[in-house]
Symmetry: none
DNA sequence: CATGAATGAGACTTCATTCAT
DNA sequence: TATGAATGAAGTCTCATTCAT
């Protein structure tokens, strides 16, 4: 029995499909999970491909059967973990019925549950850390993550201003101010926060996020009785 | 005492020494500058010691004469570039005569000029990126940078609340919210921002920082006519 | 008898067999063609077995069903492409009616059309290149190709001398001098000549071969009026 | 004592220069020699860099201190072993006082002594074998070896024709016919000839070369009483 | 017969650190 | 002090061969 064998569900032996087949279909997911964990833990350069393979329960060679290089593996991890959620957010923005404050809270909390609180949030760290050493990854990430994500948040700010809910502040800068603490939180959780060192009093991420949201919404709120700026989008 | 410890800030009184002597005493400074530039550009692991030496105009062996390892070199870089400013900030806080809003603006702008806008701001990136792989650096950084910096910002928030200028919000979280966009800006400048990829509309750091400050102060401001909370510190 | 041995020339009498059957019997031929092309293009070690399989339209596993190893596949390729022609040449020598000069021209031109001008000529390159790394292939090739081919050319030279057409030169060396430019031409075509680099003025292979032949025959020709040497064979 | 140490002359300990220094200067030569031997024995791709290093008595890393890659190492080997001699031949051609037949014999014999009979002759094999897989080597070799060598031999043929010693045959083809058997001999010596297989009756290289030369000169010789062709160069 | 997923040894290259000079 | 040659462990990626299906 090879060391990986016991990772397959040993209860239902090939009830629906032959074992080899089942493995083949599960492989990419297993590899992606192992790779995410390792990239987040060590960074892109320091993660070793054969540890990814070992954690996924396969040999080094098998990894390269599915992804032709470490870089492509990383890109697949990013697409799998961040790509879907951003698209979802953009759809939400288009169809959301409530106030923009509620929309922002919803998007932020969803992000926290699906990205911030999970390993996926560590991807930000990897990017921040190593993007300068891997230009191709930089281009890929800018195009497939940063650009769409900023579009989403700029959309939220613009909606608030157009609907007269927010003051007419510069859209781009405010979008940055919205995103920054979220990313920052994710970075923290996967760097210093992951170390066993005491640094200041501990903060509860949810509390931090809520403080951030209320501070932001308070700052954005149009003072009652002011005329809403209809064409504030820059 | 490890051999590097006394080298932290060796700008010594060599006013009348012969040229070669002065040269020798300038070595640590040159090495620290070269190391800072390289660590920020490539990260800790990817920076090559012999490139540090080359940039400082010495041989690889000489580097090891001054710093016993790459880690000690990095720690010296951190002490040299971040240590002084934090101590200075704490002194400012104790003696500042004006409003807390002014104090915050002053501290933030000073940080930008001395850290954020220079290579020193890249140290944050290096830490965020690689602290998990180098536990000793983690402990060092938490104790010598993060802890004092947080103490400073918590002090500012507490001052504002005690003086009735800010609302009685949780001190720790607000301090985080103050720091986050600053660090975030520094991280951005030295990672994605340093790449030649287009990602959203460009932002002017000073503008971003000012937007952040005003948003924050607006959110913190005690509505006129409210009773100041004297004992809000948690 | 090793499993591959009986597959050397399996073009079998499957005249009326159903399509799938014919397909199956065509397999070895398709594999041999793909293997020849690839061995000649990349060399023995650098040719990848799964590219051979892919080009032949089968899976990698199937290749190993027909040939137990890469070495056996290569030997089959050699037998299939060089074996027959040499035997044919020896028969021609025994029965040829014309002058020895004509015989040499005939043999040389036939070689060019069937070997030199085709992929089969590339086998020489592979042998020259890698025979030292694969002793078993060396022994095989010496016994099944080099030895018979030399026998043929020594026979031609001896015929010319015995019939008084050639001068009484050492048979073995002259045979070498006959073969060398042919092999050399084949080597060139499949190495440097196959690269897109400019190297000297290009040469037309047929012209080169003819120049070689005439030079050789001119050099071999017995000056008119000389007594032919009856027993010159060494 | 490291395994390489006894390769240094152990009799005169640092008489002229310190040991380390002596090693440094000798290194490139030692590495080049080891590399030549190994490339010729195994081919370019199959030769392992750490075996080159081991044979030169250094560690793997040291090799890369002197040559930045396997390809550059190979190019250095070619330049060192073939470059000089070709240049020398071109000078000889320009200044040679005797007949062209003598010049050709001289050049051929020098080639044999310095290249053909030594490991350097094996470089031809490596090129023939692997040039298609390494385009950069192809370009390098065409420019630095093939082109100059052909220029030399075309020069010899043209000289013979111009001086009325040779018949007015096409220069380029005759040059090829001159070179071919030489290269062929070298190839043979380092491929099949290096194997312990019996293939035909053995030939003495010098005899073969002389047979080739006489055959060639006989074929080239202008029949007595013929008018020399002054402008035959194509 | 046929498939193709899986293996794992092995190749080139990098780089922090040492140490003889 | 200062040098820089030398080391060797470690990392990514390849590919002939096997074997369960």
């Amino acid at each position: 029995m090879r060391p990986s064998e016991h990772l397959v569900d040993p209860i239902a032996p090939a009830a629906t499909a032959p074992a080899r087949q089942r493995r083949k279909e599960a492989r990419p997911q297993e590899l992606l999970d192992a790779a995410l964990a390792l990239f987040v833990e060590k960074g892109f350069a320091a993660a070793r491909t054969d540890e990814v393979a070992t954690r996924a329960g396969v040999s080094k060679g098998t990894l390269y059967l599915y992804y032709p290089s470490k870089e492509e593996l990383f890109k697949a991890v990013v697409r799998h973990n961040l790509g879907a959620l951003i698209a979802e957010g953009i759809e939400t923005l288009a169809a959301y019925p409530g106030t923009t404050a509620e929309l922002l809270r919803y998007v932020t909390h969803t992000w926290w549950e699906r990205i911030g609180a999970t390993d996926a949030g560590g991807i930000h760290k990897v990017i921040v850390a190593e993007v300068r050493n891997f230009p191709e990854i930089a281009a890929f990430y800018a195009a497939e993550v940063i650009e769409p994500a900023h579009r989403l948040f700029r959309g939220i700010v613009a909606r608030g201003i157009e609907r007269g809910e927010f003051r007419a502040l510069p859209v781009n800068e405010v979008a940055h101010a919205m995103i920054a603490p979220m990313i920052f939180l994710a970075l923290h959780r996967h760097s210093i926060g992951a170390c066993e060192v005491a640094c200041g009093e501990p903060v509860e991420p949810r509390t931090l996020l809520d403080t951030h949201l209320e501070l932001l919404l308070n700052g954005l709120a149009r003072p009652a009785g002011t005329t809403p700026a209809r064409k504030a989008r820059r």
